[in-house]
Amino acid sequence: MQFGILVNEGPYSHQASDTAYLFARTAIEKGHKVPRVFFYHDGVYNASRLATPPQDDRNVGARWSKLAADHGVDLVVCVAAAQRRGITDGVLGDNFRISGLGQLVEMGIQYDRLVTFGD
């Protein structure tokens, strides 16, 4: 099955991004496809490479980058939400890209399921 994933909350202050990551990783391990993850609202903060969490904690952004590198997941950050919050190309972590909301709608149209993580 093809899963599209929507992440609506930022890292650390909310569990949404962690749960979305674990869902995506597990789905891939079980043989499903996760072609794209879309980051919206404060979810765009997951894309910042400027985050430097303590060494003994997970690195939420870097974890997404690695999942993309290992499995070709397309990590898309909403341009309008990103501009509001100061997330620009210059601060993007590896394998994230900035694009429009059309990329979110496309997930709904093309994939078997669209799963939202957030409040």
Partner: protein
């Protein structure tokens, strides 16, 4: 919205998208940014339904004035939805009752649904996005 021209993902597929608006218009950004997704989805010629439930019913309330909190008032956008061929607006009866609201308090025409009717409508959808 700047990018409201007709869009196409090339598949020709039309799915039923339901947007579930659950939060008050102000206090958080969900209602405002949620509306942006609604408009883009309509631009993709998808079958769009909007549901207002819980505090989301306040999004449609008449007389919203944001001057005192110095944030953008986007309530006019709801009245413009018809122009984007978004005509399926539903509100949850119990949420209205709990907040002392009736259809006369709202800025647009809506269909009021019971919990059971809402559940049936939801079950018909291909994609449900909640803001």
């Amino acid at each position: 919205m700047s990018d409201m021209d007709d869009m196409d993902d090339g598949s020709g597929i039309i799915k039923k998208f339901m947007f579930l608006n659950r939060k008050a218009p102000h206090g958080t950004v969900y209602a405002l940014e949620g509306l942006e997704v609604v408009l883009i989805t309509a631009a993709f010629d998808q079958d769009v339904s909007l549901v207002f439930t819980d505090d989301g019913v306040f999004q449609l309330m008449k007389g919203i004035d944001t001057k005192g909190i110095e944030v953008k008032d986007f309530s006019k956008t709801y009245r413009a939805l018809e122009g984007y061929d978004i005509e399926k607006l539903y509100v949850d009866q119990a949420s209205m009752d709990a907040r002392g609201l009736t259809e006369d308090d709202l800025i647009v025409d809506v269909t009021v649904l019971s919990v059971d009717e809402m559940a049936n409508l939801m079950a018909e959808q291909d994609v449900v996005i909640s803001f």
